[in-house]
Symmetry: C2
Subunit: 384 residues, 2 copies
C-alpha cells in the first residue's frame, strides 16, 4: 500500500490523499460502507460501484465464525468471494469480540469468547487475528486491540492501552503477507494522556496507517472531536488516519477538518433499512404519511439509481408493505449520499473553500427532509 | 390489445403468438412473474428486464388496500409507479378476496370482506373490480370471478359458474378504457361439464382473452392437465389463453403443449427466497452443506447476472447469514430460468421439435441439482 498526500487544505488540517493498493487506488478522505458478512446489506457489488463506493469494510469476527476464513481463501479471498475487485479493509475482530460475544476471558495471549451464533468457544489473539485476516485477503488489515467499555475507569484503560501496544507488536511480528498494509489502533478512552501514550507507542512501532478506536461508544460529540483532534496531532502526517465506526454526515465533515482520512459506519446502510434517508437538506423518514403520493425523488438532482427511477411515494409504499426492494433502493441512495458528500468535501478542500462549504452544509440542513413539512416556510438551524 | 398466432406447432396444440399492447409487445407462450404489491419481490424493474421478463402481474386486492388505486393513478398508473414501462396484467382481486380476507359475504352485487391488513370492511363487485383496475392502468385486466374452495360440491360450483358469468357480463358493461383488454375467467372446479358451460358462457360474451381459474388449489396434476385440455378445446383459437397461478416448469411445458399461451406463478420468486433454485438438471437447495466451498455458478453456462458473478459458495453463505442480497440474487436466477425455459419452448415449437425438447427436458431433470450429490453417478428419472 502506498499513501501520498496530494494537497493540504489552506484553511484547516484537512487534506486530499491517495491510497494505492493491489486492487486499485482511491482518494481520501473516503467513506467505507460496512459489509459485515462479506455483503454490504441489501446491495450488490454492482450497486456499490454505481453509488461511487471505492473501498468496503468487512468484519473478521463474523467471517471467522461463518463461513470461516478457509472457505473464503479457497474462493479467491474476499475480493473473489464478494465479486468486489476494488480495495477491501478488514477490522481485526477486536471490537466485535467485546461487543457481540459472551463470556470473554482476556489473557496476555488474547481473548477466549463464545460465538454469538451458537455459543461455541473460540480464541483469538493478535497472532490469530492476523492469520485470519491474511486468509481473508483484504488490502488493509487492522491490529488486534482491546476495546474496553465506555464505563471503564482510568486504571483499567491504562492497563488496556499497554496490552493493546503489546498486541500491536505481536501483530507486526505475525504478519507475513507483503501485499497487505497493517494499521495500528489508538485506544485510551476519553483521557488525553492515555490517547497520547497509545499513539506514541504505536507510532514507534511504525504502522502503515493509524486508526482511532473506542469512539462513538457513549461519549458526547464535543468530547469525541476533542479526542480526534488531540490524537491526530500525535500521528505522522505521512500516514493515513482512520476514525473507526464514525459516523453521521456532520461527524465526517468535522473529522475531515481535523485531518482524518478514512471512515466507516453502518449509519447510511442501517438507516436506509429503517427508512431514514439522507439529503443535503436533512433526514427524511420515508414512512411519513405526507409522502403517500409525493411523485418527487428522495432528493431533487440526486444522481443515484433510486432517485433517477423511483418516487418517494413508491419508496414509501415499498417500505410500508415491507417489500425487500425498499431496503435496496434506500441503501443505494444513502450510500450515494455519503460517497458524494465525501466527493464534495474533497472538492472544497481542493478549491480552498472548505470553511465556506461547511457553512453552506449546516445552513442547508433542516431546510428540507422531515423538518420542511413540520415547519413549512421556516428555516431551522442545523444540528450544531 | 392485439393478439395474433404466428405459428402453430406441427406436433401438438402449442402455438407461438404475439400480443401487442400500449406498452409494447411480447411473444407467447409467456411467463409472468408476480408483483403482488407493485414489486416483484426482491428485484427491481432493471433486474426484471435483465432476466428477460416481458410482462408482470400485479394484484388488485393488495393494491386496492395499500396504497390504494388513487395513489397509483396519480403517479402514472402501475407503469409509472413501478418504473416498469412494459406490459402489466392485473388480476381482478377475486382470488385474493377468497384466499386472504376474512368474513366474506357474497351477494349478487359482489363480495363484502375484511382486510387481511387491519380487519376493515370492504366491498368489491364486478363494477368495483373494473374501476380499480382502470385506475391501476394495466394493459390486460381480468373479470371479477367467484373462486370457490376446492372442497365445494357440484351444486355450489354450478351456482358459482352462473354467478361468475353474470359478473363477467357486468365487467364488460362497466369497462370504459379502450386501451385495456379484458379477459374472462373460466371456473367450474374439476367438473368437465361445468368447465364447458363456463367456457361457452364466456365465449358468447366475447372477451379479448380467456383465463382458466381455480386450478392448482388441491387437485392432482393429471386432473389439472385434463381440465386444461378439455377447457382449451372450448375456447377460440384467435384469443390468448391464460392458465392462472400455474406453475412448475413441468406444468408450464405440459400446458403449452395443450395450447396455453400465458402463465403466472409465485413459484420462481417464492422458491428463490426459500433457497430453492431451478436448473435444467433439477432443483438445487442452496443451503445444502455440500455447496459450502463450491466455486461454480448455480448452473454452468447460465447467462443470468447471478451465475455470471457469484458462486454457489457465496450464495450459500448469503442465505445462511440471512443477507438480503441472497433473496435478490436467487430471484434473478429463478426468473431467468423461467423466462429462458419459455424461450426454449418457443424455439422448439418454431423448429417443430417440441416433442424432442420435451423428452430431453425430462431426461435432464434429476441429473444435477440436489439429486446429483445425493446419488452420485446415478441418473434419476424426471419428476413425471
Amino acid at each position: 500500500m502506498e499513501f501520498r498526500v496530494i494537497q493540504n487544505c489552506r484553511q484547516t488540517r484537512a487534506r486530499i490523499g491517495e491510497i494505492n493498493t493491489g486492487h486499485g487506488r482511491f482518494t481520501t478522505p473516503v467513506f467505507m460502507p460496512v459489509g459485515t458478512q462479506a455483503s454490504v446489506k441489501a446491495v450488490s457489488s454492482e450497486d456499490l460501484k454505481a453509488a461511487g463506493v471505492e473501498i468496503v469494510l468487512a468484519n473478521t469476527y463474523h467471517l471467522y465464525l461463518r463461513p470461516g476464513q478457509g472457505v473464503i481463501a479457497r474462493l479467491g479471498g474476499l475480493h473473489g468471494f464478494m465479486n468486489w475487485h476494488r480495495p477491501v479493509l478488514t477490522d481485526s475482530g477486536g471490537f466485535q469480540v467485546y461487543s457481540l460475544s459472551k463470556l470473554r476471558t482476556i489473557t496476555e495471549e488474547g481473548v477466549t469468547f463464545q460465538s454469538h451464533l451458537d455459543g461455541s468457544t473460540h480464541f483469538i489473539g493478535p497472532k490469530e487475528a492476523i492469520g485470519i485476516q491474511e486468509a481473508l485477503g483484504a488490502d488493509i488489515i487492522m491490529a488486534f486491540d482491546e476495546c474496553p467499555p465506555y464505563s471503564a475507569d482510568y486504571q483499567y484503560l491504562l492497563d488496556s492501552v499497554k496490552l493493546t501496544t503489546r498486541w500491536a507488536r505481536r501483530c507486526l511480528e505475525a504478519k507475513t503477507r507483503e501485499d497487505q498494509a497493517l494499521f495500528g489502533i489508538v485506544q485510551g478512552g476519553v483521557y488525553e494522556d492515555l490517547r497520547k501514550r497509545s499513539a506514541e507507542d504505536l507510532v514507534e512501532l511504525d504502522f502503515s496507517g493509524y486508526a482511532l478506536g473506542g469512539l462513538s461508544v457513549g461519549e458526547d460529540r464535543e468530547t469525541r472531536l476533542d479526542i480526534v483532534s488531540q490524537t491526530r496531532e500525535r500521528l505522522p502526517l505521512d500516514r493515513p488516519v482512520y476514525l473507526m465506526g464514525v459516523g453521521s454526515p456532520e461527524d465526517l465533515l468535522e473529522a475531515v477538518l481535523l485531518g482524518v482520512d478514512m471512515f466507516d459506519c453502518v449509519m447510511p446502510t442501517r438507516n436506509a433499512r429503517n427508512g431514514t434517508l439522507f439529503t443535503s437538506r436533512g433526514r427524511l423518514t420515508i414512512k411519513n404519511a405526507r409522502f403517500v403520493d409525493d411523485g418527487r425523488p428522495i432528493e431533487e438532482n440526486c444522481g443515484c439509481y433510486t432517485c433517477s427511477h423511483y418516487s418517494r411515494a413508491y419508496l414509501r409504499h415499498l417500505f410500508m408493505a415491507k417489500e425487500i426492494l425498499a431496503y435496496r433502493l434506500n441503501t443505494i441512495h444513502n450510500l450515494y449520499y455519503y460517497t458524494h458528500l465525501m466527493a464534495e468535501i474533497r472538492r472544497a478542500i481542493e478549491e480552498g473553500s472548505i470553511e465556506e462549504y461547511r457553512k453552506r452544509f449546516y445552513a442547508l440542513q433542516g431546510t428540507g427532509g422531515n423538518a420542511l413539512s413540520l415547519h413549512p416556510g421556516s428555516r431551522e438551524k442545523g444540528p450544531l
